[in-house]
Symmetry: C2
Subunit: 163 residues, 2 copies
Amino acid sequence: MAIKLSSLEVYGVAIRSEIDAARAYQKMGELVESKDGKQKLRFLRNEEQKHRALLEEMYRKEYPDIKLELPDKGLAPKLVAAADRDAPITKLFELAMEAEQGAEKFYAEAAEQSESQSGRRLLAYLSGMERGHYYLLKAEYDLMAEFDRFSSYKKFSMEHIGG
Amino acid sequence: MAIKLSSLEVYGVAIRSEIDAARAYQKMGELVESKDGKQKLRFLRNEEQKHRALLEEMYRKEYPDIKLELPDKGLAPKLVAAADRDAPITKLFELAMEAEQGAEKFYAEAAEQSESQSGRRLLAYLSGMERGHYYLLKAEYDLMAEFDRFSSYKKFSMEHIGG
């Protein structure tokens, strides 16, 4: 992180980012046409919702007396804005991949700086999970991008990935 | 691949491996206790079932006149054997991670050698997806392994990842 955040601020940024990510995946799931794509995006949305719940629980445990305040923006404001304006799905995938890589790095650094063992464990876990999400998105995106070049991704995904 | 397989053989090995992987994830999903773990493993099982369907369809297209024959063993016979004998869940995760890495490499090499464009695309896609699976498993495994050292993973997963 360029500016060092307090652990308390880390949780706020992280929770805001998980909320944003879940919303973006929800939107992306509505935009993709293949059943397989919808299933993957539903999985990702559910994952981010669980991450949010884990972070909120950890926050309550570590700061039982401090009300949780979320910042206006999380780690990926560009993704949120693009999802809100129904940007093309390939663009949303690109921004989501960027967001997952940013989250992976953010959590890894936050884990290192965490003063509590359970906080460190959770943050390291989330870092690893976001890395997995990145690669799932990337595989889907690479296929999509290649088929876009042939203007036939939709056809392929209908035929091959269970339309 | 140490021994160069024909494209026809590649499909047989790949389909057998996807069947094995889906079965192993099914078993692992029965063995893990947390709801979150069960959901993740169900996602992975469904993914491998879709991969199998994609491979079978591609095989039928490329070899319409040759009956599909599956080898007795796929890429990860150790995973199959361990799942069949109800090995400990941490061991199954280790073998599943090894299997995903093996599959990623197998598909990447098969994609390079593929003579058809659609075959190459599918195999490259599967390679990328298995890489994503590996990282999802790894994040879960790292957490599990750390909690095992404190003999309290079950407790954590009950408390934190939604019982």
